[in-house]
């Protein structure tokens, strides 16, 4: 297994979501993940970046989202960073679609998806300074 460490910085705009997915899919595929896990990794990264683009900077596209991906013998770890307003990771709960609809909320699924499709997810939140979502997919889930 060849170790890899890649760092990307992209404008905080949805225009680049397809590029981000393609980049991480290629890396995950080369690392040896099967098709299902490549999809999960790309989805998790899409969700993390979409959260930054939509919420961290109130939609402004003059800012950046940073993506760091590391592959080692255990798996792939992706860190998504921004310097926006942050969020409360403890507030993530299993979405109740009936309740959300009744409250006219049509989102809030992103972090739940990330936690579900990845093996290990950690948050480091410093609003306005540095917010990070770190997620890992292991080659074999222990």
């Amino acid at each position: 297994m060849m170790k890899k460490h890649v760092h990307l910085q992209l404008p905080s705009h949805t225009d680049y979501l397809d590029v981000i997915r393609e980049f991480i899919s290629k890396l995950a595929n080369e690392a040896g993940f099967d098709e299902e896990n490549v999809h999960k990794i790309a989805l998790a990264l899409d969700e993390a970046c979409t959260n930054v683009i939509r919420h961290a900077y109130d939609g402004g596209d003059e800012k950046y989202v940073e993506v760091e991906a590391k592959v080692d013998r255990r798996g792939m770890t992706i860190t998504v960073s921004d310097s926006g307003r942050g969020f409360d990771p403890d507030a993530i709960e299993t979405p109740n679609i009936e309740k959300l609809l009744a409250q006219h909320k049509f989102g809030g699924f992103g972090l739940y998806i990330i936690k579900t499709v990845m093996d290990d997810v950690n948050f480091h939140i410093e609003p306005g300074v540095r917010n990070q979502v770190q997620m890992t997919k292991y080659f074999k889930k222990s």
Partner: protein, 115 residues
């Protein structure tokens, strides 16, 4: 891994939307527009065929939630068909089958509107 297309075909009084490609936060507004247009035209019986949809993220799921209330208030519904297992898993993960009727194929879904 780019691009998204939505095309529409009428089947009697049911509007069928065919989705193709990648539905994410960038392309979700295209689907929103398709729903808005149908509502403006008072077409409230809507079937979404996912056969050619390769990818969906939560931004895409949010679109279906945003219009369902208005459509059901007008005695219509959004029903879904032909999802690949990969796309269905995402809907299922978030509990959509509780609130939306999802069919294996388009014919079953069309027939359900006459029941």
């Amino acid at each position: 891994m780019t691009g998204f297309e939505v095309t529409q075909k009428m089947n009697q009084d049911i509007a069928v939307l065919y989705l193709k490609g990648f539905l994410d936060a960038h392309t979700a507004p295209d689907l929103e527009k398709a729903f808005k247009d149908l509502i403006e035209e008072h077409k409230y019986n809507i079937l979404v065929n996912f056969f050619d949809l390769d990818y969906i993220s939560s931004a895409g799921l949010g679109v279906f939630m945003g219009f369902i209330e208005k459509i059901r208030e007008n005695n219509g519904d959004i029903r879904m068909s032909n999802m690949t297992p990969k796309v269905f898993k995402i809907f299922d993960l978030l509990g959509f089958p509780k609130l939306y009727r999802i069919f294996k194929n388009e014919q079953e879904a069309l027939t359900s509107f006459t029941e």
